[in-house]
Amino acid sequence: MTVTESRPQYKFVGTRPVRHDGVDKVTGRARFGADLDLPGQLVGQVVRSPHAHARIISIDTAVAEAMPGVKAVITGEDFPPVEPGVGDYDMCVNLMARDRVLYEGHALAAVAANTAEQARAAAAAVEVHYELLPPVLTIDEALDPDSPVIHSHLFTSGVDPAPAEPSNVSGVTVFTRGDTAAGFVEADVIIERELTTQPVHQGYIEPHAVVADTDPHGRCTLWCSSQGHFNVRAQTAAMLGWETARIKVIPAEIGGGFGGKTTIYLEPLAAELSARAGRPVKMVMTRAEVFRATGPAPGTKVRVKLGASHDGTLVAGKAWMAYSTGAFGGVAALLGAWTVFESYDIANFEVEAHNVVLNTPRSAAYRAPSAPMSAFATETVLDELARALGIDPIELRLRNAVTQGALTTMGAPFDRIGFVECLEAIRDHPNYTAPLGENQGRGVAAGYWFNIGESSSATVNLNEDGTATVVTGSPDIGGSRASMALMAAEELGIDVYDITPVVGDTEAVGFTDITEGSRATFATGMAVVEACRQIVTDLRGRAAKMMGIDVSEVDWVDGRAVHSGGEHDPLPLAAITANAKRTGGPITATGSLEARGVGPSFAVHLCDVEVDPDTGVVRVVRYTAAQDAGTAIHPSYVEGQIQGGATQGIGWALNEEYVYNGDGVMENPGFLDYRVPVASDVPMIDAVIVEVPNPAHPYGVRGVGETSIVPPLATMANAVAAATGRRILDLPMSPMRVLDAIVNGTGNGDGSVTTAR
């Protein structure tokens, strides 16, 4: 279902062609990260720490180096020195430990050998002597002043005055508006809750993989799957201390990323091993390595307090938040603070968010990073407020929803946004009033995210026969080639299948930032549109030459140059390209830009669950998700993003979590014990595309990739609360925890425990 505000009718944009890379992907021809082999290739293997926190006394590689087939062994000493807290210190030390290992799975050496078996044997023969240090494993431990401080160079940023002592809090973000204390005094009902979530992994099905080939001149070619090959080049160069131009990165097809492939893990190691061995080196992570050393999303502890008047107007909000970013600092707290109250027009609020460092893997972005946890808190408290006030939960949100002109948390006014339209789409959906069965409950929650801009480049080349090649630098994770081709088809007026969308390597297209922040269709799409518009200007000029008229008399209509006076026959694009040699040579244009305009995007999810009172198992009965896509360039893939994000959120809410033993060793580093949703766990996800065009994009695009994972945590928790009468505030809502809530009354009841002034 699509709910569309009035917008132009397009010929191609909004249609559902089969994606250009589709046949390769259903026939096994598509080449992902691990699918390439080079002649003479060695196999690389990382040596990883079995301890969560230890000082490295010594690493002895002599035995490993002498083993059969071993061609190179490297440790942290083989990389340029790093200075704590300076430049790319965190990334460099995360990829290869120096004096200490900071989490179980932390890389500390790597070997390259003729075969995988030889590489594994040599890795096992690297002798490491450790002095064990006490690990810090939870947010509470990290904040305890008596706990060990993980980084002696880490002084909390964002506080005034700057602290005199280091701590495990890398940064604090504070946002305030109005007078929060006075706001709470005005409130008729106040509810405050503390909620926790555990670290979860992005769970892409393709483990990290790379082939590196460093030639005798020191130039290195990397084949790898990532969300941004220009970033792979920059980070690899930074860790190796090389000039960027020495490295070429060729993007493989990427088997899922969700933010987890916005950074690197293996590439500099493979490049250095290849340089030392003089042969190509291939490295592929196991699933256990992926769990232990990449991702995850932070675990959180969040306290949210909201005050409302009897009519449901939110008058004050307060949030205290802590995000565990693993062994190094990050921006998780900033994003949490930004998003926690962003959806609602609240006159008075205070938000204080902390980045907390632990002896766990360095966290990475995961789809709308930080927002699912902040929304879990706010939308749970709103659900309880709705019950306490006796107001329908959608109605309560409608009364407070941000609309055009309302202030964002950062202080700028929103442009045209579609939050109200999403709320109305769910309110008016038949599933909102469908009858519920025994042990069933209904939950609703909203979520906010946005697309970012950043740098994008696109080159459009017209071919002699009137077809076009569109080269961009954005890896295609979920169908962006198709969306680029659709926008180009719309601009040029030629069929979408006459366009070949290509993801170019770092030497074939201009710099392009990572496919992150839901920006590919938005920002790289803008670059494609810009290049196409240059091409059309060029085509009009050439047509004018061919017709012998002034260019001002030539219009571009449906892929043809049309004489406004009507005396000359229209010239189709193919006629102009066929004459390119006589009108100025090849027809090509590049669009490159720093895209502006954050495209705010809202989603509202609705879920019915059935809770088995004997086992605590939560079954998803119905799931409906409405999201403002601005304009859906390819509606099928917009629906796919909505359905995929919702399902990831369901897994986060019900099952997924990192489980550590007391020593900080992960106990579930595999898909058997880290259980992501399977096909039998979920129903069809009814995706409702709401289209309120984004004024900042030529086709009104808002990024659609991330928002869909924001509402599900609270949606599920609200549904479970409705079904059981028990409010579970700690995720995941595993059967054990749900059963405990039902049987022992843990959790906070059905909303009756409210604080009223």
Partner: protein, 169 residues
């Protein structure tokens, strides 16, 4: 270490390869035979990305030793299409947008193939359980399940059509 010589049939072709005794059939197909359609997503039989059909049975070949393939008949995603003619499942996956990143797609196509050979007219629930051994992190399964159901109905109506044609002859 001496290598094991294995003779088997892959997608209808007699195929020979040498492998280590401890090598998985997945590694052998990818590294020795050169068929990289089957993927390793976990190496523990939990994700289904390496699903192929061995002697008629859907198998996670990361858990099967390569020497066990001696004499076996193996069908992989590379053999699903008939030349340029895509299998109805492949066509329906494309038309139904049942893939995003596509890395799990070969495994899903083989699992769906095995399902429809066993049960040509599955319900949605039967389809979901038959595909529950395959992880997809992108799609939420909605479009995959729908595409399998559409393919089943197309294949059935085509078969009925063929039968009717035969009867008419």
């Amino acid at each position: 270490m001496s290598r094991v010589h294995v003779t088997c049939t892959v997608n209808g072709d007699e195929t020979e390869f040498l492998c280590d005794g401890g090598q998985s059939l997945l590694d052998a197909l990818r590294d020795e035979v050169g068929l990289t359609g089957a993927k390793e997503g976990c190496g523990t039989g939990d994700c289904g990305a390496c699903s192929v059909i061995v002697d008629g049975r859907l198998t996670c070949i990361c858990l099967m030793l390569a020497p066990e393939a001696e004499g076996a008949s193996i069908r992989t995603v590379e053999g699903l299409a008939d030349g340029d003619n895509l299998h109805p499942l492949q066509r329906c996956f494309l038309e139904g947008a049942a893939l995003q990143c596509g890395v799990c797609t070969p495994g899903f196509l083989m699992a769906a193939t095995a399902l429809l050979e066993r049960n040509p007219d599955p319900t949605e629930t039967e389809t979901r359980y038959a595909l529950a051994g395959n992880l997809c992190r992108c799609t939420g399964y909605d479009k995959i399940v729908k595409s399998v159901l559409v393919a089943a109905s197309q294949m059935n109506s085509q078969m009925n059509g063929n039968n009717e044609t035969k009867e008419n002859q």
